[in-house]
Amino acid sequence: MKTSNSYLQEMLYSELADVVGREDITGNKADKAAYSCDYYWIPEMWLDRGCPNPMADFIVHPETTEEVSRILKIAGNYKIPVVTWGGGAGSQGGALPVYGGIILDTKKMNRVLNIDRDTFSVTAETGIITQHLEWELEGEGLSTMHYPASISCSTLGGFLAHRGTGVLSTKYGKIEDMIMSMEVVLPDGKIINTLPVPRHAAGPDLNQLFIGSEGTLGVITKATLKLHPLPAERQFHAFIFKDMHAAMQAGKEIMLSRLRPSVIRLYDEAETKKLIKRVLGIDKQGAYLVFGFEGDREIVEIEKKRAIDICLKQDSEDLGSEMGRSWWKHRYDFFYPPHMFALPQAFGTLDTVATFSNIENVYWAMKRAVENNFPEAVYIGHFSHWYEWGCMLYARFIIDNPPQDPHEAAQLYNSVWDAGVRAAINAGGVLNEHHGIGLKLGRLMKEQYGEAFSIFEKIKEAIDPNNIMNPGKMGFKGA
């Protein structure tokens, strides 16, 4: 490390180095630059345009829970902000060190601690890249079935902290459905464990207090998740519907029939025309829908036939299983360059979720709010996580040529978000489905929750009285 700019920083460096060792703390500018930008468009835009992003003072790489505990005690003593960093691939600015302080990178806590074959569960440290966890489980014929597009980028802790979801969530649930128990280091350094099983009547569920808390209440250091055997059969089938509404009717009926698809993905006409053609090479007019079933072959065949019949009732074109498998094979390709939207474009994912009664209204309300107020914006979307009662809308806006001035670009960007998210909330949607809140959407938390947000604020004050944990995120007060 180069010379620090204050005595306090020297002291902080010494104390942190005493915990993690000098090889696991850095304050050099190359490292700090790499931790100054996550997947949130505004810091990416700032980086692109040569505006320096706010940086942490130090990055530490603890290797044990005890080291995390000692780091938080030091931070609490000096009232220094701590931002927990997993993969840093969040799209909401949640891992940005906006007040400086300490970045606590969890990725050296990446061990798989136990695979319990009797229970079908795995206990792992939460800094593990989720793809690495899956690879290890695959060797055992098991899986969490948590397959998000960011599986290669993000840590288990990152998904827990943001209520993440994977492409097979329709059958296996989101990360909050997969959790059994967790170890958490509280802001004062106390190490706690939630109960060993997720279903009980011993008071409120502590797992669900910390899941989705985005590093504002502590650091999740270990987690036990449910496992599933790799399915004997995994099948996909694709259709083209004349429009999104017809496809939605089919998707809804599949869910209301209480079939158990692993996935349903419905792309609106615009995404079908652009992305499905570009990535999968399927050049069709209308709305592309793919579904999957998996498990025992006989059950899969029966469920698939039922779902096919439901889709055909809507006068759809049967693209067969090959074009469904193509989606599965290329499911992550959508997020690689050059397929993904990229600077200088401005883009954002206005993901939301609503009941079947409201979801199409949410789609159209957001579309109107975005395109009518911002003629330069294009609105597209797909529906990708389905529940017994509704589904998630992965809506996106794209502005090809946002203003060159970073301030103007940021203002425009935030205005689109305000308009889109408020329209969603007014139509029965919610702020977000699986990317989290972070810095990006914090200002809208009070609008979404109303008086109920004060409960979160009181919990935050009680658990983190020094406000050292990721201040200024999720709508909580800054440092």
Binding site: A30, A33, H61, D105, Y336, P338
Partner: protein
């Protein structure tokens, strides 16, 4: 700046996280600056002059193994290894290389090898010395085989003699120049390549055979990029290609049973840059009694040892040791008796970490065992 030629890579990678899980050094140090995205952020900032090339920004650029795992994983095929090499060329051009980097260059230019050892080929290698000055085949051992793994030179020449090949070696063979290119010394690398090429041509050889993938890649790709092309005059072969050819022509026969379970470690260059992942496996499978087993990470997805030119071992020995230890863990998990490599640098690195957990050998040593 050389990196301007790769602005497409910088722009794509600076906001993309998708390959971080396969990044050899990034997954070891866990530092964001060591991931492809982190390095693209630094190079973008250097291009737009918000950061400078200095000790702190240069270090991650030399920690990269240029193993190509990121490019292999990339749907868009963005060429991070070439970007890193361009960045190093800029560092050299701006005379900002670290003392360690300069030291490696000086070793090659002054002593003829990356290790800085004495110029003469060691005595151990004399036993396998070729009998001819001019021949159809030139055996090129490379620095690590010559000075650290001379048993491989002996094994290689034994095979060639058994096949009754007309072969020679360069008197006082020097480094292929790969490390110069890898470190960013483009002019020195080109001058070196030109000089060595003339020496090689003087042997009258039609084929050059090397058991070192770094030398192989230098002759096949880097020399080509520096307009020193073997292509029209001399065929460049790695030992596995050459030996496979000898077997196919019936010049050698794999006779002796070797009752061993072996696991093969894919070399970065052979596998990811030259598509040679099946040929070594076919060679192993052709040995009577051999039972091959695969590591969890194999072929294009194999874990890298950071072998490229032996540079990482010298600049960042601790990272190099950790990478080797990961591969040893993977090999031990297969239950194999032996871990087979095709690279002298890799053999050296893996052997040092294997302790007594698993035997490490080169494929040409196995060949000798089954031939003799």
């Amino acid at each position: 700046m050389y990196i301007k030629e790769y602005t497409d890579v910088i722009n794509a990678c600076k906001t993309c996280f998708m390959c971080r899980h396969v990044c050899t050094v990034g997954t070891e140090t866990q530092h964001e600056a060591d991931t492809p995205r982190g390095k693209a952020i630094l190079l973008h900032s250097i291009l737009n002059k918000t950061m400078q090339l200095d000790e702190e920004t240069i270090a991650p650029l030399y920690r990269c193994t240029t193993c190509g795992a990121c490019k292999n994983n990339c749907v868009g095929n963005y060429d991070m290894p070439s970007l890193i090499q361009a960045a190093r060329a800029d560092i050299i051009e701006q005379e900002k290389a670290s003392a360690e980097v300069v030291g490696i260059k000086d070793n090659i230019l002054d002593k003829g090898n990356i290790l800085g050892l004495k110029k003469d080929i060691p005595v151990e290698m004399q036993a396998g010395k070729a009998p001819l000055d001019k021949a159809e085949v030139l055996y090129f051992a490379g620095c690590h085989t010559t000075y650290l793994q001379s048993e491989l030179a002996e094994a290689m020449t034994k095979i060639m003699k058994q096949a009754e090949e007309s072969f020679t070696i360069l008197p006082g063979e020097v480094c292929c120049g790969k490390p110069l290119y890898l470190l960013g010394y483009r002019k020195a690398a080109k001058d070196w390549a030109n000089k060595l090429f003339q020496q090689i041509k003087a042997t009258g050889c039609k084929k050059i055979v090397t058991n070192c993938p770094s030398c192989y890649d230098a002759f096949k790709r880097n020399y080509e990029a520096m307009s020193v092309s073997f292509a029209t005059e001399i065929e460049v072969l790695h030992a596995v290609e050459y030996i496979s050819d000898l077997i196919a022509k019936g010049k050698i026969k794999l006779q002796k049973q070797l009752k061993k379970t072996v696991t093969y470690h894919d070399d970065d260059y052979l596998t990811r840059f030259h598509g040679l992942h099946e040929l070594p496996r076919q060679l192993l499978s052709a040995i009577p009694g051999i039972e091959p087993v695969e590591m969890r990470w194999n072929r294009e997805e194999a874990a890298s040892c950071g072998e490229a030119g032996g540079v990482l071992q010298q600049l960042y020995p601790q990272i190099s040791r950790s990478l080797a230890a990961r591969i040893i863990d993977g090999a031990v998990a297969t239950g194999a008796d032996r871990l087979v490599t095709v690279c002298p640098i890799t053999k050296g690195a893996l052997s040092a970490q294997a302790t007594e957990r698993i035997d490490v050998c080169d494929i040409i040593e196995l060949m000798v065992e089954t031939l003799m």
